[in-house]
Amino acid sequence: MTRPSTDTVWEWLDAVPDPEIPVISVVDLGIVRGVAWRGETLEVAVTPTYSGCPATSVIALDIETALRDRGIADVAVTRQLSPAWTTDWLSEKGRAKLEDYGIAPPRPAGGPERCPLCHGVDLHRISRFGSTPCKAQWRCADCLEPFDYFKCL
């Protein structure tokens, strides 16, 4: 088999969903930090979102599986800690998909810009933490619905 270019590999990785938020890909999330061939080995550097996030090992496995399914036998997923992951690395596409899915995307101001459901702006924080390490819980006073906010990190 001819060796696929790293650009092709990036495209393939952009089809690997985040296990917790399947509407965005691991590339959208900004955790794939590098793709390179070293000899016959394809090296993929991945950085964790939160240091204790249980999805991290699942993500590494999903990436490996996806690339093996494409016919790449020799894959090495490595962990890269520095520079530390930041929500600034979320892609624009990823941010839009998050909002469509009902999760308000992160903002440096520290809270959601608008309710992802009704676009209301009278918002109240319920808790700094949510169902996964990367989310907080908010509520919209207009539609009265609670929603997830992707924490800014």
Binding site: G52, L81, S82, A84, F129, S131, K151, L153
Partner: protein
């Protein structure tokens, strides 16, 4: 590793000092993380339950990184899991503060706040460590620790400046935990050797920042800072852990002890 407890502040040769210091960082995160996980399913409200579990997760993630590096530095083939699950009380190097039992929710949050106010500047200083591995782990953990501090400080203020009942409980928690804060802020020979080598921070240099954060928050929480600077010591040196660490480890380690090598 020998099973005998060293005297306060004992230092071995160079490599051992770094191992010792990494154990302190890892064990603080591990023991506090486990303590917080004891709340899982028992929090006063669902949101707080989730918040405590999330904080525990961050800390245990940090412990994995610190202990993983400690095991590499030690170089005797042990893993982070071996260090977490197969050491006994006298080999742990965590602060006495973090092994204190949870008490009520306010007590847990006061313990968390006193630690977070130290953890944030500590990790900030370690981000500039001459050891790049220490620096990168600290950089990662420090973003999470800042979030922990925002929340624990906010909760201390809400409960301290809350009802008569919550205020009384927070004051009682502060009075009970205060004598355990001093150990964080006083350097011993390991801290000094690590600081001199540019690897870590001398806790004494972090004390003024800690004190500013703590006094400002407690003031806002209408809580009275206890007088006196008596401090229990012996946690980070391993010389005198309290009677509470053993039962906690029994709970945390029983599976690996009963079924060695078990995994899923």
């Amino acid at each position: 590793m020998s099973g005998s407890a060293p005297v306060d502040g004992a230092v071995g040769p160079e490599g051992d000092t770094r191992f010792e210091y990494l154990l302190r960082l890892g064990d603080n995160a591990l023991v506090l993380g486990h303590r917080l996980s004891e709340w899982c399913g028992r929090g006063p409200v669902l949101e707080e339950d989730i918040a405590l579990a999330n904080t525990a997760l961050d800390l245990i993630g940090g412990a994995q990184m610190w202990l993983g590096y400690a095991a590499e530095v030690e170089g005797s083939g042990r893993s982070a899991d071996d260090l977490a699950f197969l050491r006994d009380v006298w080999d742990f190097r965590n602060l006495l503060l973090v092994e204190r039992p949870n008490g009520d929710f306010g007590h847990t949050m006061m313990r968390q706040f006193l630690f977070d106010a130290f953890h944030v500047p500590l990790l900030g200083a370690l981000s500039g460590s001459a050891d790049p591995r220490i620096a990168e782990i600290a950089e990662k953990a420090s973003k999470e620790a800042r979030y922990h501090l925002e929340r624990s400080a906010e909760t201390v203020v809400a409960l301290g400046d809350g009802t008569e009942e919550s205020h009384a409980r927070m004051q009682a928690a502060l009075d009970a935990l205060w004598p355990y804060a001093g150990e964080m802020l006083r350097a011993d020979a390991v801290d000094e050797a690590i600081a001199a080598a540019g690897l870590g921070a001398d806790p004494a240099t972090l004390a003024p920042g800690w004190e500013r954060t703590v006094r400002a928050t407690l003031d806002e929480a209408t809580l009275a800072v206890p007088e006196g600077d008596f401090a229990h010591t012996g946690g980070k040196s391993g010389a005198r852990h309290s009677e509470h660490l053993g039962p906690m480890l029994a709970q945390m380690q029983w599976l690996q002890r009963a079924y060695p090598g078990a995994s899923w």
